[in-house]
Amino acid sequence: MTTVPAIEQPATERSAAVPTAAGRPRRRSHSRRAGTPYAFLAPAIVLFVAFLGAPIVYAAYLSLRKVKVSGLGLGSGSRTEIWAGLSNYARSLTDPEFLPSVGRIGAYGLIVVPVMLGLALLFALLLDAGRTKVGGFTRTAIFLPYAVPAVVASLLWGFLYLPRVSPINDVLEGIGVGSPNLLGSSWILYAVANIAVWGGTGFNMIVLYTALKAIPQDMYEAARLDGATEIQIAWRIKIPIIAPSMVMTFVFSLIATLQVFAEPMTLRPLSNTISSTWTPLMKVYRDAFTRDDIYSAAATSVIIALATFALSFGFLKLVGSRAFRQED
């Protein structure tokens, strides 16, 4: 708490200097000042519009269009782009593959989110409680998988899943358990979820660990004087205080779940069990790049974006205010 006045001091000095040194020019430059914020914002606005706003608008526009072929569809002029109304949305939502893919990521999320966040919280609390010398190494080791790109991680795990090239199966067979086909239909969901947990736990752990680090030590001292055990401290002090961070990691994980793509896409050629529409985003990819139908891909994208928006903001509204109030 002692640092706060130290930071505020220069600010006070500067604001105090303004009236004395620039008392007269202030009025003169008033009109110019009105534009100043916009000038400073301009680069951000331009970049936002060019790389986020415009593509979103264009995607929404494409989702309302379609190509109409006349005759055999060969030769020039046989394809025209026309308005499609909402037919792309209707096709997307009624596609027999769409709902199962949503159900699949639902099940996937039910595995990934609790396991990943549970492990992240556990590791963060252990690292924070231990404060041992190996802490730095352990922290890096747990974080490291996050630095591995999802495609590389999936290739790596793909090798570990394939029975003939996998050391896991050698070990399992060695101890007489037999080798389950990890890419078979009964295991595939766990196989994909495992990659996400492996890759994501480290990041979430760092977020939670950083939040834990910000808790003043004197709180623990007070708790210990009152006779609290380490577990009680974790449960009654640490977890409630870092609740906002936990909410944030949950929202991140929720969004990542809705957008899962790289892992199943990379595993797909290794197995019969991952279809080209295994997740909603894979369906978007298939429509756009395999079927060359960017219009229905755009429609599905808009649906996914709206669902992501609704779910994350809905969740924040539900739990966020309560979590953030505790911070005050």
Binding site: V67, K68, L72, G75, P269, N272, R291
Partner: protein, 433 residues
Amino acid sequence: MKKALVGVFAASLLLLASGCSGSDDSDTGSDAGGKVDLTYWTWTPNMDKVVETWNAANPNIHVTVNKQDGGDPAVTKLLTAIKAGSGAPDVMQAEYQKVPTLVSADALADIKDEAGSLKDKFPESNWNSVTLGGDSVYAVPQDNAPLMFFYRKDVFDKLKIAAPKTWDDYAAAAKKIHAANAKQYLGTFSATDAGLFTGLAQQAGASWWGINGDTWSVNINDAATQKVAGYWGGLVQEGSVLNTPMYTPEWNAALNDGTQVGWVSAVWAPGVLEGNAASTKGKWAAAPMPQWDTAAPKTGNWGGSATAVTTQSKHPKQAAQFIQWLNTDPAAIKLLASQANVYPAAIDSSAALTSPPAFFADQADFYTLASDAAKIGNPFTYGPNVNVAYSAFNDAFGKAAESKQSAQFTAALATMQSQTVDDMKNSGFKVAG
């Protein structure tokens, strides 16, 4: 993509003599309109070396090779450039099954005036693929990839099995091999390789698309394809062939350690085997495809590509001249075979193919078998949405292969058929059946 990998393997591993750059081509002659620059998108390795010869002989038509990642990404890029109105090359390599898609997107120029006379230089099935059975010529065939059968001769000899002449022989051999050694399989049904299945259906007499007037027909779920799907479904169900995909680390390991002892593949297989199964060198043999009817032997294709002029080219005449040279000139064909390791589509390419591929060094008649196979390719028409049919194949047959039920294999064809027809109807094509 896969075929590109195959090509890379083939090129980097088949070390054929490479000293014939001192070409003595006479000047092919060019337009009197001054120097012309052409760009050429291809993923064939060493194509730049083939083109060097052309550039040396034709200073007025300079061709620049622009190396692509492979068949699928190159097509995606080209379609984007066509949609954008600029950015497409003058000359483009295109797999046969992509030609209708590209024509449908108005990406390929009709070069019948320049190349129409080349018809007799190519097998009928290849020529059919670049004309779509009509009067227009959208590309000139470059390489042909007839299906052939490759097997581990040592394993067959040990079990006293002859190379299968019919599909019944193949089934019996598969059963016998797996019975003799539970870890060994003669093959696998790969749900990730729609191109191979298409070739097998083509061999059986299927032609999945057709044009009748201004109406398309789709016949994926026909009797011939049903026969093929049921056959492989039966083998998978009884467990004498595997149900796992090809081109996985698992499959490579199985080829290399001798648990996959056969491969129904195409003429480019030696390059892949050399890359994936190096430790089995000298143990393989090539044979003609097993047949449904030995009285009328047929084969299909897996891969192969043509060279086309795009609609954005400002010099279509010169571009057509170049692709005609590239795919029919004896010197160019020789370079294609020796430098780029393609199996040329041109019928009189035998002079360029004298010694067998290195991995099949003992099989002196390799290219005789290949050219016999190339002559008996069944005609097959690809439609404008091959991509949709292939992705439907991957999903439907993936499910069927996982279930190991023969009935699911034949049912998967109905799914392919309906998804393909629905897609065409949705786009506004006139479709019958």
